[in-house]
C-alpha cells in the first residue's frame, strides 16, 4: 500500500510525519537538528531515501544535512573527511561562495539595498533545496542574498550558476521584507534545460539553457510599491507552482495578486477573482487536476494572518478567478497564524492530499483534495516548510 512521508521544517528543528495511504493515523518523529532553523527539507524524486535539509542559525551559520535512508540518519556532507581523528563529525558549512571569476563574466558584485544604495552580495542562508528530478546526487539551492547554486556530488560541494546573478538587472534587485532571497526553484520535467526561479523582491526568471543565461519573466505583473509598476524587475513574487504534467502553465502568489501564465512565464494575467484578499504566500496545484489550485489568503502585508481570525484555504477548479472557500476542519475563530511560501505541498495519491503548515505549529492535511481538513500535529514550533513524498 502506498504511504506518505511529510517533511516539516520548523524554527527549532525538523519533523517527519508518516502515514499509510489513508492519511488518518500518523507517526511523528523528531525533532531533528533540535534548536536550529530548518528553512527547507525535501526528498529526491529520483530516490525517496535521499533527503536534503537546510539547517541554519543566526549564530552558527549554514549547514546542509543529507539523509540516505529516508530520514532515519543524517550526515553533513562537507568538503573534507567525514570525521575528525576522534571520530566526531566535521560539520563543514558546505560553503556557498559567489562566483566572481573572469571565466564566468565576473557577475556583478552589488545589488540595491532598501535605501537605494548599492551593497555587496553576502551569503546568509539557504532558503530552498530542489533535488534533481533524475539524479539523487544533484540538488539546487536558492540562497540569500539571491543566487542559485548547484551540487552534483550529493551536497559535498556547491557551485554558483552565475549567469543569473550576472543578469544586467542585478544591480536593480533589492530585498523584500524577509531579505533578498531566492526562494522558489522549479525544474521542468519535459525540458532539462528549463528552470524557473523567483526572488524577493526581484521577480521571476527563467533559463532555457540549463542556467547559463536567464530572462526575467515578469510581464503582466503590477506592483504598486515600486516606482514603475510594470517594471521588468522589482516585483515581490512570493511563490510559484506548476503541475509537472503541464509544465508551461505557472501559478503565482505575488505579494498582492494571484497570477497565471500559460506560456512559461512570458506573460502573466491576474486570476485573483473573488478571493477575499489576494495577499498570501503559499500556492500549489492539484497533482492530477492541473486547473485546480490552492492558496491561503492572508489579510495584508502588515497583518500576516487570515481574515477575521478564520483559517481558510481557497480552491479554484477553473485555473483561477472562481474560488471556493474550504473550511471543514480548520479553525473558525481566533486564528492568527501565517502560512509561509514553502509550507504547502500535495501528494500524488489517487485522492490527492493537500498539506500545509502554520506559524502556530500546526500541520494540516486534507486527503480529499481540500474538502475536509484535520491537524496531523498541533504544537510544533513555527512551521517554515512542508514537503511530502508519496512512497510506493
Amino acid at each position: 500500500m502506498s504511504r506518505v512521508r511529510v517533511l516539516a521544517g520548523t524554527r527549532k528543528g525538523a519533523f517527519i510525519l508518516e502515514s499509510d495511504g489513508k492519511r488518518e493515523k500518523w507517526e511523528v518523529s523528531g525533532p531533528y537538528f533540535t534548536g536550529w532553523e530548518i528553512y527547507h527539507i525535501k526528498g529526491s524524486p529520483a530516490d525517496p531515501n535521499r533527503i536534503y535539509a537546510s539547517q541554519t542559525s543566526g549564530w552558527f551559520g549554514q549547514i546542509i544535512q543529507r539523509s540516505s535512508d529516508g530520514g532515519q540518519t543524517w550526515e553533513t556532507p562537507g568538503g573534507g573527511p567525514e570525521k575528525s581523528p576522534q571520530g566526531w563529525p566535521m560539520g563543514e558549512s558546505n560553503k556557498f561562495v559567489y562566483d566572481t571569476s573572469p571565466e564566468t563574466g565576473k557577475p556583478l558584485t552589488t545589488h540595491q539595498f532598501y535605501d537605494g544604495t548599492q551593497k555587496p552580495w553576502v551569503f546568509k542562508r539557504v532558503w530552498h533545496l530542489e533535488p534533481s528530478l533524475t539524479d539523487p546526487d544533484t540538488v539546487y539551492a536558492g540562497i540569500e542574498d539571491a543566487a542559485l547554486f548547484r551540487s552534483t556530488d550529493g551536497a559535498h560541494s556547491w557551485q554558483e550558476l552565475p549567469g543569473l546573478r550576472g543578469h544586467e538587472t542585478g544591480p536593480q534587485w533589492q530585498p523584500g521584507a524577509g531579505g533578498m532571497c531566492l526562494h522558489t526553484i522549479i525544474l521542468d520535467p519535459s525540458d532539462p534545460g528549463k528552470i524557473y526561479i523567483a526572488i524577493s523582491a526581484a521577480g521571476a526568471f527563467r533559463t532555457d539553457d540549463g542556467g547559463q543565461t536567464w530572462k526575467p519573466i515578469n510581464r503582466g505583473l503590477r506592483s504598486q510599491f515600486i516606482p514603475d509598476q510594470d517594471a521588468e524587475v522589482g516585483h515581490c513574487v512570493h511563490h510559484i507552482a506548476m503541475n509537472p504534467t503541464r509544465p508551461g502553465v505557472l501559478f503565482m502568489q505575488k505579494h498582492w495578486d494571484v497570477m497565471r501564465s500559460d506560456n512559461a512565464g512570458d506573460q502573466w494575467r491576474e486570476v485573483s477573482g473573488n478571493l477575499p484578499t489576494d495577499f498570501g504566500f503559499a500556492i500549489d496545484v492539484h497533482a492530477h487536476e492541473p486547473e485546480t489550485i490552492y492558496v491561503v489568503p492572508i489579510k495584508s502585508d502588515s497583518e500576516h494572518f487570515p481574515l477575521d481570525g478564520k483559517l481558510r484555504v481557497y480552491r479554484s477548479r477553473t485555473g483561477g478567478n472562481e474560488w471556493e472557500e474550504l473550511k471543514k476542519g480548520l479553525p473558525e475563530r481566533n486564528c492568527y497564524v501565517n502560512v509561509f511560501r514553502d509550507a504547502m505541498a500535495v501528494d500524488t495519491l489517487d485522492s490527492c492530499g493537500i498539506y500545509f503548515g502554520t506559524t502556530g505549529g500546526q500541520v494540516y492535511v486534507s486527503s480529499d483534495a481540500g474538502d475536509n481538513w484535520s491537524a496531523i500535529v498541533h504544537d510544533l514550533p513555527p512551521v517554515l516548510s512542508v514537503e511530502v513524498q508519496t512512497l510506493s
Binding site: 524554527r11 534548536g35 536550529w36 528553512y39 542559525s57 543566526g58 549564530w59 552558527f60 551559520g61 553533513t76 573534507g80 575528525s84 581523528p85 576522534q86 571520530g87 566526531w88 563529525p89 566535521m90 560539520g91 563543514e92 558549512s93 560553503k95 561562495v97 551569503f123 523584500g176 521584507a177 524577509g178 531579505g179 504566500f281 509561509f340 511560501r341 514553502d342 513555527p382 517554515l384
Partner: protein, 98 residues
Amino acid sequence: MPVTFQIPGPLRPFAGGKGQVEIEGSPATLRDALEALWAVCPGIRDRVVTEQGEVREHINLFVGREDVRYTGGLTTVLPAGADISIVPAISGGVVFYN
C-alpha cells in the same frame, strides 16, 4: 597546562556530545587554542568563524570572565589553565519573515 573550552549546547554534536573539551599543550594565545580545538572538533570551526575567518557576529568568546573583544581578540594571551567559553549571544524578539 591544558586549557578547557566550554561548548554550548547547539555545538555539542560536533564535540562528541561533550560540554567541555580540554586542549593539551599550553597554547599561548586564543588563536592557538582555537586552532587546536578545530583539530580535535573540526565541525565547530565553521560554526564559530565565518567563511572569511572572522568570529561570527553573534558569537562571544570569553577567557575566564573577560570578553576577548576587549582583551585583544584572537591574540588574547591565555593564562595557564585558562577556561574559554563559546557563548552565543542572547537574543529575543527577533523579527522573523518568511
